[in-house]
Amino acid sequence: MDYSELYILDGAMGTMLQAAGLPLGELPETWNLSHAEAVTAIHRQYVRAGSRVLYTNTFGANRHKLSRSGVSAAAVCRAGVRCARAAGTGQTLVALDIGPIGRMMEPLGDLSFEEAYETFAEMVEAGKDAGADLIVIETMSDLGETRAAVLAAKEHSDLPIWVTMTFEAGGRSFVGVTVPSMALTLSGLGVDAIGFNCSLGPAELLDLLAELRRWTDLPLIVKPNAGLPDPATGAYNVSAEEFAAAMRRAPALGAVMLGGCCGTTPDYIRALCRAVEGLRPASAAGNGCRGVCCAAHAVPLNGVRVIGERINPTGKPRFQQALREGDIDYIVARAVEQQESGADILDINVGLPGLDESALMRRVVKAVQAAVDLPLQIDSSDPAAIEAGLRACHGRAIVNSVNGRREVLERVLPLCKKYGAAVVGLCMDENGIPKTAEGRAAIARRILDAALANGLAREDVIIDCLTLTVSAEQDQAAETLSALRTVRKELGVHTTLGVSNISFGLPARETITAAFLTQALGAGLDLPILNPNTRAVMDAVAACRVLSGEDAGCDAYIRRFAATGNNAAEKHETPDMTIAQSVMRGLGAETAALTAKALQTMSELDVVNELLIPALDAVGERYERQELFLPQLINAANAACAGFELVKQSIARRGGGSVSKGKILLATVHGDIHDIGKNIVRVVLDNYGYTVIDLGRDVPAETVVSAALREKVGLVGLSALMTTTVGSMAETIAALRQSGYTGKIMVGGAVLTESYAAQIGADYYARDAKAGADIAKQVLG
């Protein structure tokens, strides 16, 4: 399509249908079948007003919204295309309109990426069959849902894809997506045009469009509302003339596609046509800041950006144990910790022999992006795991890595192109790591050429000249730095290095690592991979940002040292109290220090049974006596958790078994999303030393049953908050009993009672978390 001229889009469909008699709240899309003439008549009015692109009346024509209508999404979509086609002239383009599904995506909601993808794919297939000219994805708030729609459109058609999202005046969508994140992600995915629609009037939306222009060189789309509706009359407060006058500014901002959303009518489009007649869209060449992002936060690649390396099992027995046991919370805690230490990007590596790397990658990427707002680097040598990670990642990621081997380049680079990821290229090939700087630079050149040939941009290639251990190959540190300088200067690409490796085998590792990092940053390294929890190394990064001028006014540096100036407080002296006291007061660090001391003289099991559990029991008794209230009980449990973590580490270090007191399965039943009560129970049980398998919320009965049998648990705990979901709890219990599950079942939740729990077949009713722990003790010991 030629984007050098303006495309006039249409105005609101819903507003017009209501004027034609559609009752408020009835699904407008069903009219494609029941009132096709009325829909076509509206399209025809827009064509007469000057619309060149018609959006089909299929905004909500998805299987979820239509589930109660008795008609299929495919039939409504096909009819929608027909209605628009019937109104068009030879020049009219018919755009299959795809709106949000109407459910919140994971992790906040219950809609999975995969389900969203299938729902959109059905619409795309139908629209393509019916002869749509392009696909418009609009009114999106969630970048994950938008990605699902874009991928469905790309994988089920070859039609052009236009995408508009809905933002509030503050520059974020309802779920927190920022303008740069939207631009980077969608430009990366290779859509044809992006922009905004709905939510705001033209003046406010055009301000956002100016921000969008800074982050992309794609043609821009703007389809504002006619202002805001009056709650009493439903009338919008921006007139057709005001609307059109405001929109005159749009082409100069790079808008190519102009139309109207809620409240606009053919009069608005007619006025718009007159207002922009003779205008041409400003050229976008040279725009588009590059960077990586997650949905809520973008990181431009124009300075030193720290990639945190801690999510990686290599050489970390405790991390390996967490991966084997599916203890995702432990991995998420590593992500949070690195974010707090100042990482800009997180590397995710979950490769461990014997485990399904693709499935783990998907799970960990989802969990990490739910917990932190940082872009991700998908780290694997398995293309299937890389693709699983890229698909799950709701932003623009980096792939770590390719190398100079042709078959690797051929398999991985197309994935980077498809998902719009940047890529790390390691300076090695089938012959190993070249010993000379020239040899490494030659491989870098090959990788860059292959990346460019696959459609990646130079700015999206990140070369790793490879850090070798200086104690083993002392001359190689200089070669790495020399290669780095060459690559930076001659190829003009970004560079990365896993710097920690330099100091392996030496005492005072931090000193060597920090010195090497400083030299490497001086040689042009901009994306160091390191452990951000290491103070000296992050201090070096902070200092280098001052010296390079990136930290303007030394502000960040001053803040860093003002905040942590008093180092004395960081010393971990054993506090002068007992574990019982530190747990009672909810003091985690103190409990950890006391536990560490106790582990010097006692076995792990004794520490658990003689110190930590009795401490928790004492807290529980005071809670029962109403001397403590809920947050205090939880704080105490958390403090004990700090002690348990040390015990687990101690066992993992010597490769020993578990001190678990038994396995408990927890789930909030199908249909219910209120899981805070279940989460409290999890924390408390965890800290009593039980292994808790938490299936989450909205969990179908069959998932509970299969997990209970597979994990051979002795106790299942179910929660439900709503009267409407207690039925689903009863079904889950029945399914467990029928399956041959022989353990016990406890239930809890606001609307349950002792007698009702018995009536639906539960063995125990847990009034609160403390009662849950008492039941666990009774059942499992």
């Binding site: 408020l24 109407g102 906040l108 219950d110 709905c198 009493a232 917990a371 209230f629 989460n679």
Partner: protein, 223 residues
């Protein structure tokens, strides 16, 4: 009318936390104050409302949604107009509570309780503003799908009638629960006669049988 969050009621937060008269203590007071402040700072309250004429056959003008059940008919008996309201603290609060839960469940529980108190405050402020805007008039109590005999499934047509998802970003799960969770939908009758406050009392509470407050001779104050 703007969504306004002006205040979080400490007593209400404590009630949501299942507070039964324990000594709260300085450390816990501090936690409560810190979490309430964090919640006030994070919340981005939003609301959408629409005024409908209410006919004798209980239909709302121009609207496919017809509120179901005897309770709402009783409530709206004297009301010639009905306001549909949807309000939320936004996904910002939902995210805050979920992320805090990963670090400190104690804080998450307090934030959850503070969020419940906060969304009530937003609704109270709206009703005060509405009463001023439509004066002279008397508002009924707020009534939500899922209360009394109004089925929770009424949420769906209610949502469609106000375009709740599009206007303020609240969505429904398949079982008609709202996400973000700190959200409220309500019908409010607008009458020219004073409207009774119907204290629904413990009898209408599903936990009346084993209520920890009632056992202690107290009431949670919510019903």
């Amino acid at each position: 009318m703007e969504a306004r969050l002006s205040h979080i009621d400490r007593g209400e937060v404590l009630r949501y936390l299942g507070y039964r008269g324990e000594r709260v203590g300085a450390a816990a007071e501090e936690d409560l104050a810190r979490c309430e402040a964090l919640l006030m700072q994070t919340a981005r309250p939003r609301l959408v409302w629409k005024l409908f004429e209410h006919s004798a056959d209980y239909s709302l003008n121009g609207c496919a949604y017809r509120p179901g059940g005897e309770d709402i008919r009783l409530l709206l008996r004297d009301s010639a107009h009905v306001v549909l309201l949807a309000a939320t603290l936004g996904t910002e609060v939902e995210q805050l509570i979920r992320r805090t839960a990963a670090k400190s469940m104690a804080d998450a529980v307090i934030l959850d309780a503070a969020g419940s108190a906060a969304i009530e405050n937003v609704c109270d402020n709206f009703c005060a503003d509405l009463e001023r805007e439509l004066a002279p008039c008397y508002l009924t109590e707020r009534f939500s799908p899922g209360y009394g005999d109004m089925p929770l499934s009424d949420q769906r047509p209610f949502f469609d009638a106000l375009s709740v998802s599009r206007r303020i970003g609240v969505t429904l799960t398949e079982s008609c629960l709202m996400i973000p969770q700190k959200s409220v939908t309500a019908l409010i009758g607008v009458s020219d006669k004073p409207q009774p406050r119907r204290g629904r009392g413990c009898a209408s509470c599903p936990r009346a049988d084993d209520c920890v407050f009632r056992k202690g001779g107290k009431s949670c104050g919510l019903f």
